[in-house]
């Protein structure tokens, strides 16, 4: 393989993984925009999405039904978590951050009890050999992943710009007090944001399960990387998070291919530290989690 072919391959696999980070990062952005909470448990929405797909698939449910069920259940988990955090929403950010850390540990532990420590494999949504696209090989599930991610982004865009409820949520993100004065129930927007981020996380989990394995502890690392993607995009910008996700995926893939695969997982955190430092130096025009 020439270097150019290799680069094309790294780019393709990076984009596939990046789609996952984008989905997870978007969950962070939606919750943070509306509630100013960094939901540390975001990754723990991904894990049950993947594991539920495996379990429901074992029950011989058709893939689309299993997918919708998994996403629906985890959206419910997101809503429940919002209700749990609701009573202390005025607490200092540090306390809330710790609260969501607690929630993430509890969810992971719950999954450990339900599913055990074994990794589960899931068949791809459609069988067949990898396809060639512009000189790079992509597994079929990778196409499913990118397609479903694109569909999710499109649905969210329609929801946030073309529906009354979505516009109301955006109003709450921009100015909660103003939104309340306009008769919008800020509480409900917060509930909706958490539900959506649960659904987004589960979507990510469901589509990635056939590529990696599904385990009870997969959520932590995926969640952290989704977080880096969101921070990369400025933490309040949905488009930024999507771009950040793909950028992070490609960076990781390039680092793994060109430098060393041993440090692949460290890339995201180097990016995170660099972002923190760069922001300190005031080099980037957008603010990274200034209000966090």
């Amino acid at each position: 393989m020439t270097l150019l072919e290799q680069l094309a391959q790294y780019l393709a696999s990076g984009l596939v993984v990046g789609g996952i980070y984008a989905l997870i990062g978007l969950g962070f952005v939606i919750v943070f925009s509306v509630t100013r909470i960094i939901n540390f448990a975001q990754g723990e929405f991904v894990m049950p999405g993947a594991l539920l797909m495996v379990t429901l698939g074992d029950r011989r449910l058709a893939t689309p039904i299993a997918f919708l069920l998994a996403v629906g259940v985890v959206a419910g988990v997101g809503a429940l978590l919002e209700r749990a955090i609701h009573p202390v929403r005025g607490a200092p950010p540090l306390a809330i951050l710790i609260l969501t850390i607690g929630a993430s540990i509890a969810i992971r532990g719950g999954a450990l009890i339900l599913w055990g420590t074994d990794p589960f494999a899931l068949a791809p949504f459609s069988p067949g050999p990898p396809v060639w696209l512009g000189g790079a090989m992509i597994v079929r599930q990778g196409l499913w992943l990118l397609g479903i991610a694109a569909l999710a982004f499109a649905l969210l865009w329609v929801f946030f710009t073309r529906t009354y409820a979505g516009t109301a949520v955006r109003a709450c993100a921009i100015n909660p007090r103003g939104a309340r004065l306009m008769g919008i129930r800020v509480d409900r927007a917060s509930l909706l944001a958490w539900t959506l981020s649960g659904a987004l996380g589960a979507t990510a989990g469901a589509v990635i399960a056939p590529i990696t394995y599904a385990t009870y502890d997969m959520g932590l690392m995926l969640g952290l990387k989704g977080f880096v993607a969101a921070v990369l995009g400025g933490l309040v910008s949905p488009l930024g998070a999507i771009a950040g996700g793909f950028l992070l995926g490609v960076l990781e893939s390039l680092a793994a291919g060109l430098v060393s695969s041993a440090y692949k997982d460290a890339v995201a955190f180097v990016v995170l530290i660099v972002l923190c430092l760069v922001q300190v130096a005031g080099w980037i025009p957008w603010r990274v989690a200034e209000e966090a």
Binding site: P93, I98, G102, S104, I105, F269, L277, Q279, A289, E290
Partner: protein
Amino acid sequence: MSVSARRRFRMLVAVAIAMAALSSAVTSRYVLSTLIFIALNAMAALGLSLVMGFAGQVSLGQAAFYAVGAYVSGVLTASFGWNGWAALVLAVGAGALLALAIGLPIFRLSGLLLAMATLGFGIIVYYVLVNWSGITGGPSGLTGIPPLALGRFRFDTDQRMLWLAWSLLLLLLGLAGNLVDSRVGRALRAVHGSEVAAEAAGIDTLRLKLGVFTAAGATTALAGSLYAHYLTFINPSPFGFAYSVELVVMVVLGGVASIWGTVLGAAAVVLFVEALRTGLPLLTASHGAPEYEIVAFGLILMGFVVFLPGGLASLRKTP
């Protein structure tokens, strides 16, 4: 001596006497090692407690400082034959220096930026420990770390280690108590109350917060160094993100910014993990995953933030 200093001194003496009595009366290795681990964890969490309580920031990578302490000591003594105390001093210095290097740029900004940066730092350190196998021994770790020794007297039994760990812990608790009572402590409380007001009163808040974070790096590294010399064997797995979270749990349980609370929190976590490890298999009659503790951990953490934000230490606080 002020009233609070006298009270603290009495408390320290009481704990010292209790530990001395325990160390000679108890022969069970299990009990002794549990007590040692309580001391090591309390030492590691002490600085974090001050960072969270006074600087209003959280370090989500405190395990990295523990790891730096343990590995600097371990590598220097086991691979390069250094004297244990010299290695310990260098380990503590490395912890402090790293904390300073992270804190110096980060503390200029408000918000939870430190949480993010330390989170990244902690995970990177973990990957370095796993992958830099030439020095750290990789996933299988380092063996043959000698116990600390004073001349011919080696801290190689549980009794002796108990003495060493608790003496150092009590010393640090005394120092931290004095610090909190001093002018610096008042300044820290002012920063905690309102940073703007503190600055208006002429307090260099940046320097203070940086100082607390640096001290936290040093004490956590000290605990790590003692850990390496006590077990004489280290590998990366106890230094992961999970341990960083565990330290935060200890601080929250004990009560943020409470000096004695750290010991309570560390004791609660260590005892709780032990109780679950021995008790759960009996209750559920399953020998499956021994990690059920993590569910309870999560729920307890959530419960404390919601119902008892002052932690265990606030239960006995006199009005």
